[in-house]
Point group: C2
Chain length 349, copies 2
DNA sequence: ATGAAAGCGCTAACAA
DNA sequence: TTGTTAGCGCTTTCAT
């Protein structure tokens, strides 16, 4: 009458009973084994195994107020980036014994806010969040959250969170200089969408390099800056406008690879050669960049590092007790040039 | 002396006290509002809001033995598939109020088994799992898990789980027939890795179509089946072997798009034209398939449907009480042809 | 080194 | 309709 072992999994009490110890001892075996006698440990562990016992994490979470889950909120990213970010976060999370809970924001869902509410329901110990544009994030709401947050790729907003960025400015600056050094002029840029901080910084880097050469976006009254929206088609359209200029740009720097590929198409349609007549450079180093013909020269984004750094910092913040949990910190990860065929500079080096 | 409102979030008791009701009433407001008076509901909700109260899910999980989290275990997928699967699962999970916990299996981690253990720690109500090859999965371990499991894209193993597959056989069959109908002969196939069930089924579909035309993989003593490993390079190498045959195949069906793209390169290197001299078809319909020149004809995989169906079935199984939780069910999702340029059949239709 | 017991926040009988 | 109370499975003082 006493062995009504529920077929569902065993609890700490079952183990304690069967091993003739108290539940406290069983608990200790798992949490502070150094305080319990070796033989006891062994006995408990054996019993546990025979009962197929595993500590129920939810119960643990209740007492400890810690779930060991970290939330990851991502916008509508390119599949490749998405994958890479998750992978890298997962990699370090796993190492530290954390699980990851994901929200891939679909366009039909109020991504950030709605998920943040869930976060506040206590499922996660911390959050890694990437928001596409500053306006999309609600700082008042964010500030209600009492758990550590790591913000990815957000413009400098003066807000006090751990922020990890990629060096858009420098990447653009270096690429532009590279193009300039090889004598290309005029150089045009196909910009990203208005209000997108990545786009803004890339433009600034571009302009800074031009300025060093005493150039600007306007030469002889011709304007060499076109705006796109990061999508392929906008690159195509922007390129068409650029091609109809009285003086064609000798090189075009697209603010991302997708637009660069769009530009490829426009150029091909006009029967021009890349890089012989027009050099092209992109930004992001997405997978297909290297499959283009000619292979696209671009700026590499350190996605893996971004994810790993985010996870490391978040976990550090979580595990740093009380004080200074909401650390303020800004990390900028370096970008690097990937010189391939489309800029025509490969063998001049 | 009594208002030591901890700055950390409020509990159900705080709300009850402040609203002058019992905790049971507060709980009811959230779980069965129809059993409580409207005015009371309002009062409770207001108080809750003023206290910034949210039910602590971990506590709820403890009593209910239900976390509303579903686990997703994926192998080392292509970024695009990965993204798509997660997105689609997330989409329906969200709808039903579930969260998703992910494990992206890195090669350095014993993916399945180790994560399954975590699953058994009670964090998740069910698991969606996709394993690349049958051998990689441990059924003995699986059978210890007491929660519903949905298996994705697994070969028919006779095991009793909910399984959702994609119709590899039929896709390959249809594509082969398509090629045959347009008079191509001989047709070669670049196969996937040994033991991979997707690959096997694709081969079977291919052979079935050939047989209908009274053909086989061997014509005049020449063998038209080459094995690859689903990676681009193996497609390239296989194609080179195919090109050195005494009688070149008129069409080549690669068991996936990556290998088809590898084949493109080999063909180009030999100075041959696609599809004029050799028609090519792939399988998977990955993104870059349409960026190739000529655009790759391929078989479309219903990834979104796969993820959504998986999530729907898993949740149904979770919510179906006790009886028949471990339903046995096998769903096969249809694949479809995507006729583009590389098969040269576009305008014959 | 080990045990007894209180409590984490919530739900669900059972009573009223 | 609402309140009381006993757990859910675990950790952690405080005793022993």
């Amino acid at each position: 009458m006493r062995d009504r072992q529920k077929s569902s999994s065993a609890t700490i009490r079952d183990v304690a009973r069967k091993a003739n110890v108290s539940v406290a001892t069983v608990s200790r075996v798992y949490n502070s084994p150094e305080t319990v006698r070796p033989e006891t440990i062994e006995k408990v562990l054996e019993t546990a195994q025979s009962l197929n016992y595993n500590p129920r994490l939810a119960a643990r979470a209740l007492t400890l107020k810690k779930t060991n889950i970290i939330g990851v909120i991502l916008p509508d990213l390119d599949g490749e980036f998405f994958h890479e970010i998750i992978r890298s976060i997962d990699l370090v999370a796993w190492q530290y014994g954390y699980y990851i809970m994901i929200s891939a924001s679909h366009s039909q869902r109020n991504e950030v806010d709605s998920f943040l509410r869930l976060m506040s329901q206590g499922w996660v110990d911390g959050v890694i969040m990437m928001v596409p544009v500053l306006g999309r994030i609600s700082f008042p709401l964010l500030s209600k959250i009492e758990i550590p947050i790591v913000l990815l790729n957000l413009p400098d907003s003066g807000e006090k969170y751990i922020q990890i960025n990629v060096d858009n400015y420098r990447g653009a600056y270096l690429m532009t200089r590279h193009l300039l050094e090889h004598g290309y002029q005029p150089i045009a840029m196909i910009q990203g969408p208005l209000g997108n901080s990545d786009a803004d910084l890339r433009e600034q880097g571009f302009l800074a390099a031009l300025k060093e050469y005493n150039l600007g976006i306007e030469i002889q009254g011709i304007h060499y800056l076109e705006r796109g929206d990061f999508k392929r088609r906008s690159g195509y359209l922007a390129m068409i406008r650029l091609l109809s200029l009285p003086v064609r740009p000798r090189a075009v720097f697209a603010a991302n690879d997708e637009m660069a590929i769009g530009a490829y198409n426009a150029i091909r349609e006009h029967g021009l050669q890349i890089p012989e007549q027009i050099a092209i450079a992109g930004f992001d180093d997405i997978n297909i960049a290297s499959y283009q013909r000619p292979k696209l020269t671009t700026v590499h984004l350190p996605i893996t590092e971004l994810g790993m750094t985010a996870a490391e910092n978040l976990i550090a913040a979580i595990e740093r007790k009380d004080e200074s949990r909401q650390e303020v910190k800004k990390i900028i990860l370096p970008t690097g040039l990937v010189i391939r065929e489309s800029c025509g500079c490969l063998n001049h080096n």
